[in-house]
């Protein structure tokens, strides 16, 4: 076997040191009746070249966005990735290491994580961030749990303008702790603030706002903050694309207690939905309630600055069933990716990306909504995603766009039956005017 150096001679020498005749003797503690008496029913092993051909063939059956033009967002975004990113995050000193339990020889990943935490704190305007969580949806669910634990209350309000799959995850997580999730309806693409005000009470632990929301529409987060504050609830800000914060007011500035979201747009590829990374930032007062790993700065014996995993007394390997969460790993490699991406983009680059997303999406919006058979779903300010109503069948339209190597928007009927005649389009800085014009031309021909 190519990955194991053990020769027959090694094996015999080692068995003799151990003091057994055969390897089978080492498995003697397995009761006879449960030993597998046949080979596993798996295909025969393949040489590397065969495996490679097989996987290339499987991959070729997928329409990837390097060959197709993609106008899909909805929680996963195609942004441009600087060429310098790949070679840095594929350094195997990073990707073949484990959780940095021995900080003296893992300063690389620890410092990069500390820098990642700083990037996220800067971007969100919050006091601190953790070392990442599984994804945006689980980060939101964990934030709701923190709000309940911190306030001692049992209810969270989640608008239906929050990503539908995020809401499902929140429901799953909270149900098992007997906590209540109440959904707040939307009106004209944004959260119905009157309904929100009516549902808020002194039993509400937290209020969630997704900015921009699932429809790409900009909510009024200060109104959420005022209402939450009135009832002593925490405001949880969520975003599926943190690059919008290059232009938008950060959660820390409008009064959020916790800011969470999806970090995939920060340099991670689409990868069919994972691995992504959830970011989790908060005010200082919540630091001991935050789930997941956190890196802190300290000094070594000689007074040199160094970094370690810290506040570990919150964690399950010490507190066991009294831990603040069961999260054991983070998405370290994706967090490193985000740190490298934000470094390469820098202060100006992040603003430029947000600016181009905004301008290109609005250009596309003007083009598409001027076509016969297409109309704005509502008149609201939006960022880089927007909903249009169409007289065509959205599912059918999306299928026909594939003939033109275009992955169109998301037909909304699957998540919002009342919007069965609507499509959610996304336009990032990765799209060109030519591609947008072509989408418009094809749409015009198809309706």
């Amino acid at each position: 076997m190519a990955y194991s150096p053990m020769t027959e001679a090694d094996k015999q020498a080692m068995l003799s040191v151990i003091g057994v005749q055969s390897a089978d003797e080492l498995f003697a503690d397995i009761p006879e009746s449960i030993r597998l008496q046949r080979p596993l029913n798996l295909p025969k092993g393949m040489a590397e070249a065969e495996v490679r051909r097989h996987l290339e063939a499987l991959a070729a059956r997928n329409a990837d966005v390097t060959r197709y033009t993609c106008f899909l967002g909805a929680g996963a975004y195609e942004h441009l990735i600087p060429a310098a990113l790949g070679p840095l995050v594929s350094r195997s000193e990073f990707y073949t290491s484990y959780t940095p339990y021995q900080p003296e020889i893992t300063q690389g990943v620890l410092q990069a994580t500390y820098e990642y935490q700083t990037h996220i704190a800067q971007l969100t305007g919050m006091d601190m961030a953790n070392a990442s969580i599984y994804d945006g949806a689980t980060a939101l669910a964990e934030a709701c749990l923190v709000a309940c634990a911190h306030t001692g209350r049992e209810k969270v309000l989640v608008p239906t303008t929050v990503h539908p799959e995020y809401r499902q995850v929140v429901h799953t997580y909270l149900r098992h702790q007997r906590l209540q999730v109440v959904e707040v309806p939307y009106d004209q693409g944004a959260t119905d603030l009157e309904r929100l005000a009516a549902l808020l009470d002194d039993q509400t632990a937290g209020v969630v706002v997704q900015q921009p929301n699932f429809f790409g529409v900009l909510e009024d987060p200060r109104a959420f903050a005022r209402l939450a504050e009135k009832h002593g609830a925490l405001l949880i800000a969520c975003t599926t694309d943190p690059l919008t914060l290059g232009l938008l007011e950060p959660p820390g500035a409008y009064g959020a207690h916790i800011a969470v979201g999806e970090g995939q747009p920060l340099g991670s590829p689409l990868s069919f939905g994972g691995p992504y990374l959830g970011f989790f930032a908060a005010r200082d007062e919540l630091v001991r309630r935050i789930p997941g790993r956190i890196v802190g700065a300290t000094v070594d014996r000689d007074g040199n600055t160094g970094y370690v995993l810290t506040l570990q007394t919150r964690e399950q390997h010490i507190r066991r069933e009294r831990a603040t969460s069961n999260i054991c790993t983070n998405q370290a490699l994706n967090a490193l990716t985000a740190a490298v991406y934000l470094t390469l983009l820098g202060k100006q680059g992040v603003r430029d990306v947000a600016y181009q997303c905004l301008q290109k999406a609005h250009y596309a919006y003007r083009r598409i909504t001027s076509l016969p058979g297409f109309a704005p779903a509502w008149e609201r300010p939006f960022f880089h995603e927007f909903v249009v109503r169409t007289t065509a069948d959205p599912e059918e339209l999306t299928r026909r766009l594939l003939d033109y190597q275009i992955i169109g928007g998301l037909p909304l009927g699957r998540f919002y039956p009342e919007l069965a005649d609507c499509i959610l389009f996304c336009v990032t800085e990765a799209r060109t005017k030519e591609e947008i014009d072509r989408l418009a031309a094809v749409l015009e021909g198809l309706t």
């Binding site: 704190a121 990442s132 232009l247 998405q331 301008q359 030519e434």
Partner: protein, 494 residues
């Protein structure tokens, strides 16, 4: 290499940049026309301003201060730090896998769905189970889901009063934490003098409130739970379910299957057993496989096949819901699938055999110099105790730090909790006899130092980029991110 590396935020100069976008090619509108002024950011975030070469040198410098499996031996018990084949990386980076959107129409992702469908079948065969979900992002995430399935099962039978999860005192900390997170009460069962679950105590603990037992087998002492059939019988007779923590599955591939031992729910840590890199602490993947009557509770969506066509099935009325957006850590699944195809049934069985030989060889050679608390054959890992060295004032942590001086990663220390001064060693199958022999020599040398020159061990490490770090200070005075310097004119203001 010694000393500190400045943070990237402390480098560069205003106006420098490492990346530029193409010129904007569409008609522009003033931002204020598109976004209400009160929603706009006033201050830009204080992100770095560096050129590309500065950024590249910074992260290369950091990478050189990091230790991975490709750098050297990593005998971190229970973490299964085996070598990660490079073909796995190549496969995951193919554009057809790396650059597909989760909401593309199903007909444009048939290759990806086929891979997931087939991987599910392979994992079920290896586990001895009926169906699996690939959704969990990590082992602990899988544990949480497994317990949710357990809960849904009991509730569906009108047995919602089953609120207790039994966990051995040797268990991973994630087991009790996951149980608590799922709303369960945790009951601990003792290990006996052979390091296995104390069957008599288990018999006393089970009852009408028992929802299930979580067990790692081989357990965290590296020992096979030899009474597993009796344990399964006791839990099942009490109406509970048996949960398999797959952290140690590397030891049993093709030798025996959790399903045949009586387990009802199984998780695998794909990043451990199936060689996907750990990435410095993630991403991982923790699929859950279940026996036939638990299949309805698996979360949405499941990958199904209709003739030649693969599709995502969301119509599952009994599903526990969803625990993650989209379908799981697909990039990790591609790597695990590649590994299984590369090795096949025979290769996987060889993995276990060689991992177990390596562990027993190391254990036998080290038992002369370090206390071996359980004198049994081990499986793929074993636990020593540093109590002999403690007599000389050298703690297990000191031994771990001293190992770093010799260019190897330290084993897992102070776990499991039931062994005093625990040192848990897992060599894995990808290490050569020469590497193991070198490790033995280093461990012997440290044992000798502990007697003759304990100070050199107590003050270790000496040859690393930084010396021993003050972890207590980090926790007492948390400094969790860099703050931009306050401009002079504002200092003292506000």
């Amino acid at each position: 290499m010694q000393g500190s590396v400045p943070l990237i935020f402390e480098k560069g100069a205003p106006g420098r940049r490492a990346y530029e976008l193409p010129e904007l090619d569409v008609d522009e509108r003033p931002v204020e026309e598109l976004i209400p002024a009160e929603l706009l950011r006033r201050e830009p975030p204080a992100l770095p301003e560096v050129s590309e070469p500065e950024a590249v040198r910074h992260f290369i410098a950091l990478s050189r201060r990091n230790y991975g499996v490709d750098v050297g031996f990593y005998p971190l018990g229970s973490c299964t730090m085996k070598y990660n084949p490079k073909i796995n990386e190549l496969a995951a980076s193919l554009p057809g896998f790396a650059h597909i959107h989760p909401y593309q129409p199903e007909e444009t992702v048939q290759g990806a769905l086929e891979l997931m469908y087939t991987l599910e079948q392979y994992l079920c065969e290896i586990a001895g189970m009926s169906r699996a979900t690939l959704q969990p992002a990590a082992g602990a995430h899988g544990e949480l889901l497994g317990l949710m399935i357990m809960k849904a099962y009991h509730e569906s039978r009108g047995e919602g009063h089953r609120v207790e999860i039994i966990v051995p005192d040797s268990a991973h900390g994630t087991n009790p934490a996951s149980a608590a997170m799922c709303g369960y009460k945790v009951v601990q069962v003792r290990s006996n003098e052979r390091g296995s679950v104390d069957v008599e105590e288990l018999r006393r603990l089970v009852g009408p409130n028992t929802a299930g037992l979580m067990l790692t087998n081989p357990n965290t002492l590296g020992l096979f739970e030899e009474d597993i059939l009796e344990v399964a019988q006791i839990v099942h007779d009490a109406g509970g379910l048996l949960y398999y923590d797959g952290a140690n599955a590397n030891a049993i591939l093709g030798r025996c299957r959790p399903g045949d031992m009586g387990f009802d729910i199984v998780h695998f840590n794909l990043h451990k057993t199936f060689s996907t890199p750990h990435g410095g602490g993630g991403p991982g993947a923790g699929p859950i496989a279940v026996r036939e009557d638990l299949v309805p509770f698996l979360p949405v969506p499941m990958v199904e096949k209709d003739g030649d066509r693969y599709y995502l099935d969301y119509d599952r009325p009994h599903a526990v819901g969803r625990i993650k957006a989209f379908y799981g850590n697909f990039g990790v699944l591609v790597r695990a699938y590649t590994y299984i195809r590369r090795l096949g049934a025979e290769g996987l069985r060889a993995v276990s055999e060689q991992a177990v030989i390596n562990a027993n060889y190391l254990m036998t050679r080290l038992a002369e110099y370090y206390e071996l608390p359980y004198k049994r054959r081990c499986m793929h890992e074993f636990v020593l105790s540093g109590v002999r060295q403690k007599k000389h004032g050298v703690r297990t942590l000191d031994i771990a730090k001293r190992l770093l001086d010799f260019g190897v990663h330290a084993p897992t220390v102070y776990f499991p909790l039931i062994v005093d001064e625990a040192i848990m060693i897992e060599p894995t199958e990808t290490e050569s006899k020469e590497t193991l022999d070198e490790f033995v020599e280093i461990m012997i040398r440290i044992a000798r130092e502990a007697e003759e020159n304990p100070d050199v061990v107590r003050t270790a490490p000496h040859n690393t980029p930084v010396k021993r770090l003050d972890e207590a200070r980090a926790a007492r005075h948390p400094v969790l991110c860099w703050c931009p310097p306050v401009p002079a004119e504002n200092a003292g203001g506000q």
